[in-house]
């Protein structure tokens, strides 16, 4: 008897600031008008996706001392657009990335609890952190958070928010006009958190929300990030390209849950993935090649190379060979506000590796950048893509995927119309939502206290 088929979780990322979006396509619409978000969200809901996801960036990026102008730029406020989307959808989860560095727990907990009330239990929070002074220049707090404190602050931020979410137990409101008792409890919402990062106390003023707490997401491949997710998150966004890497990541992260008293199914592993569909595999491959060329122009490729070289490379020909000079040592100063820059921890080694690869495979700068920035991607006919997604999930390389279309807002339409029915026929994806809340979609139980679960991380 083979084991039962795993059910796939699917979500959609509304493309934010990035080079993924092919904004020059005639079918590309606004990145900011609400109509775009409505179209995108309604397609995701029609396809019975678990949730819609928004990323975040709190400062316009700069490169070479100027605002970076080659990518899509400009995005709405996360909470506000998600609250509005709650009015035009019924089931779709609404997930937002909110920074724990440039916010305060009381306000963020209030916003998420409010969003959960206003959406009937569909809120999710992707907890991220930042330490850079560049972004800090837009905030009262400034940029003084030492880099090494970022997970410490994120952990304590999440602990503190959890205490606020739990400050009401759900039974306080009586609202009995006859007796005149609005409250059963004379002092609801009491909390006190005394910690290194936050020392706050008082009364939370939002009553317990339908999910109790929003669903918690976490991104990050580092050891610290994995541990943080194992301790405190309901889902983790991974990033990897192969079955082997995916399985290794999956096994590693799921293996960490036991030490927090959690079972493997309490944390979903949902890597981001792009997709390109065609009537045939060959047609899809051809289209995918065109998409990549549009995403990575010659100018974009040079700028991307500068992230590693940390110096002005504007004199180089994108269709020519890689620079034979080495990256400038020290803190990267050429590109500001980009996470990808920090992923190259040893730029000299990366440059050597890229030069060797380009020489071996005969790749130009632009071709190399296209190759190295490729993400997990499903390319092919609807059947090929459905099989590819299902195979990775059944092989425990993931529990599902967060799909990132290259077109806004219509990029999900074909997937909803062609791939989803095939997954449903295979019996690996829902035909209807089981319940009203995002926790229902993800198969997650009612939340429990996070703070005790985090304790072993300190030991």
């Amino acid at each position: 008897m083979s084991k039962p088929l795993k059910q796939i979780h699917l979500a959609a990322h509304f493309p934010g600031v990035n080079s993924t979006t092919v904004w020059s396509d005639p079918a590309a619409g606004s990145q900011i008008d609400f109509d775009s978000f409505v179209h995108f969200a309604r397609t995701a809901e029609r396809a019975k996706f678990d949730f819609l996801f928004l990323a975040e960036g709190l400062r316009l990026r700069e490169q070479g001392g100027e605002i970076y102008d080659l990518d899509v730029v400009g995005r709405p406020d996360t909470f506000t657009v998600l609250a509005a989307l709650a009015a035009v959808t019924e089931h779709l989860g609404l997930a937002g990335t909110i920074n724990s560095t440039f916010n305060e727990p009381y306000e963020v907990a209030r916003q998420f609890a409010s969003l959960d009330h206003l959406s009937g239990g569909r809120a999710a929070w992707n907890v991220v952190t930042s330490w850079d002074a560049f972004t800090g220049e837009n905030f009262r707090r400034g940029g003084f958070l030492p880099r090494e404190e970022r997970y410490e602050r994120a952990r304590e931020f999440l602990d503190t928010a959890g205490e606020l979410f739990d400050a009401w137990d759900g039974g306080e409101i009586l609202a009995d006009p006859v007796s005149g008792e609005f409250l059963r409890d004379a002092s609801p919402g009491a909390f006190a958190h005394r910690g290194e990062q936050f020392d706050i106390s008082g009364h939370f003023n939002v009553l317990r929300s339908p999910q109790g707490r929003p669903v918690i997401f976490q991104a990050g491949d580092s050891d610290e990030g994995r541990e943080f997710a194992a301790a405190a998150a309901d889902a983790i966004f991974g990033r990897y390209g192969t079955l082997e890497e995916g399985r290794a990541f999956y096994a590693d992260v799921k293996g960490r849950l036991g030490r927090y008293g959690r079972t493997p199914d309490e944390l979903k592993i949902l890597p981001a993935a792009t997709f390109v569909l065609g009537d045939t595999d060959a047609e899809a491959r051809e289209l995918a090649r065109e998409v990549r060329l549009q995403q990575v122009s010659g100018a974009t490729a040079i700028k991307r190379l500068e992230h590693v070289w940390n110096r002005d490379l504007s004199g180089y020909d994108p269709d020519g060979p890689l620079p034979d000079i080495d990256p400038l040592p020290g803190e990267n100063t050429i590109a500001l506000g980009r996470a990808s820059v920090r992923m190259h921890r040893d730029p000299v080694a990366v440059a050597r590796e890229w030069r060797e690869r380009a020489a071996a495979e005969g790749l130009s700068i632009r071709e190399l950048v296209i190759e190295t920035t490729e993400r997990q991607s499903f390319v092919g006919s609807p059947l090929t893509v459905a099989q590819g997604i299902d195979a990775l999930v059944q092989a425990d390389a993931a529990d599902g995927f967060i799909l990132v279309p290259h077109l806004t807002p219509g990029g999900l339409d074909a997937f909803a119309d062609t791939v989803v029915p095939l997954l449903q026929e295979r019996g690996v994806f829902r035909r209807e939502y089981d319940g009203p809340t995002l926790r229902d979609h993800l198969g997650l139980a009612a939340p429990r206290a996070l703070a005790p679960a985090l304790a072993p991380a300190r030991g």
Binding site: P76, D77, E107, L115, R140, S201
Partner: protein, 401 residues
């Protein structure tokens, strides 16, 4: 144009500029016992449907806008902290999120959430209100307030009580200045999508705001493009003349709690540059004056104390209220923000009683005449402060020359 019935003979029916009307939404209404009234829906105060229904009623009455009250602490009769009472509405949802949640369900009415400047980030507030303007297609406004409450200080842990109100208003003025500069930090045509050069935006039309103040500095630009209205209207309440300098500096609409026409004239004279000065009134409306008075007494009895307010409390008929509003219009006000004593009763009394009364007197709109809040308020859409003046017709470099 349809011919309207001739105006009534009531005083104050002389032709004048149309009044602007806003309603302040808070809990079940402004009387502390409002939640106990029939139809108050007190067990639904924390649902989207409750707020959507109120906004729909206000929009059916052609009101200019609704405001949503907010605070970062439990409501209390004690300025220092929770009062331990169980007989009053306690708990709130975030006002900006409530406004955003109802925006797609309404079409014309302005949506004005309250924001506490004292504990929030102007960068976040700016993009949140810009986004509210996008999701409402140009109907967002901001009502800015400060908080001196020591319990709120404890909720954030960054300051030490007591706070000095004068300093807080100074900080709030800086907050509003930053919010507006960020709205202006993208010129309207910054997004160019120039496929030839690969540029999505023209960086010459994106601007650092470089704000430096005693409490915070903000670099900019915003991450959200300039909102549909350019600058959504900013409003603030002044229950005290000491707050007038803040209104004068920061508000497009100032709400003043004058008690009589003389105080109205003084307020208007003190705020010569403020585009709109609205009167703030709590209202209890019924068909007969005595009915309204008795209802107020019944509410007071349920509450165990007479209702008091910073604003004038009006209990009477829609016609009498219309007289008062038009008298105060003569004294210089351009509109009113009405606080319904009981939302379930007094909001419909405004939309179905007061509004037709004002229409009969030619003092209120009969249909929405504009699609944006600025438009409803008769405020032009401003250009970005950072936009270069339109270039003069090119006198040089003509290829044909």
């Amino acid at each position: 144009m349809p011919v309207h019935p001739s105006p009534s003979h009531s005083p104050g029916s002389a032709p004048g500029p149309a009044l602007h009307l806003a309603v302040a939404l808070d809990g079940a209404g402004w009387h502390p016992a409002a939640w106990r009234e029939p139809g108050a829906d007190a067990d639904r105060l924390f649902t989207a449907g409750y707020w959507a229904a109120l906004v729909a009623e206000a929009e059916a009455g052609l009101l200019d806008f609704v405001t949503f009250e907010d605070s970062l602490s439990l409501q209390s009769t004690d300025p220092a902290g929770p009062d331990g009472r169980t007989d009053l509405v306690r708990g709130r949802l975030d006002a900006v999120l409530v406004a955003a949640r109802v925006a797609p369900l309404s079409r014309h009415i302005g949506l004005v959430p309250s924001v506490v400047a004292t504990h929030t980030e102007p960068f976040h507030v700016s993009k949140a209100l810009a986004t509210l303007d996008y999701v409402s297609r140009g109907r967002a406004g901001l009502r800015i307030q400060i908080s001196e409450r020591p319990d709120e200080v404890g909720h954030f842990g960054r300051r030490t009580a007591p706070l000095d109100p004068a300093e807080l208003y100074g900080e709030a003025a800086d907050h509003v200045e930053v919010v507006r500069r960020l709205w202006d930090s993208w010129e309207d045509d910054a997004e160019i999508r120039d496929a030839a050069t690969g540029r999505f935006v023209d960086r010459a039309k994106l601007h650092y705001i470089d704000f430096e103040g005693p409490r915070f500095s903000v670099k900019g630009p915003s991450i959200t493009p300039r909102p549909p209205q350019g600058l959504p209207p900013v409003s603030a309440l002044a229950s005290d003349v000491a707050v007038y300098p803040f209104l004068a500096r920061s508000a497009d609409i100032g709400y003043v709690t004058a008690r009589d026409a003389g105080e109205v004239r003084a307020a208007v004279a003190a705020l010569p540059g403020t585009p709109h000065v609205f009167g703030e009134l709590t209202v209890f409306l019924d068909e007969q004056p005595a009915t309204a008075e008795r209802r107020l007494q019944r509410l007071d009895a349920a509450h165990g104390a007479a209702y008091t307010s910073d604003a004038r409390v009006f209990a009477g008929t829609a016609a009498d209220l219309a007289d008062l509003l038009l008298e105060w219009r003569e004294a210089g006000l351009t509109g009113f923000r009405l606080r319904p004593g009981v939302l379930a009763h007094d909001l419909p009394a405004i939309t179905r009683g007061l509004v037709p009364e004002l229409q009969r007197r030619g003092a209120f709109r009969r249909s929405y005449e504009a699609s944006s809040l600025r438009g409803l308020l008769g405020l032009a859409r401003p250009a970005s402060r950072y936009a270069a003046a339109p270039a003069a017709p090119a006198a040089t470099a003509s290829p044909a020359a």
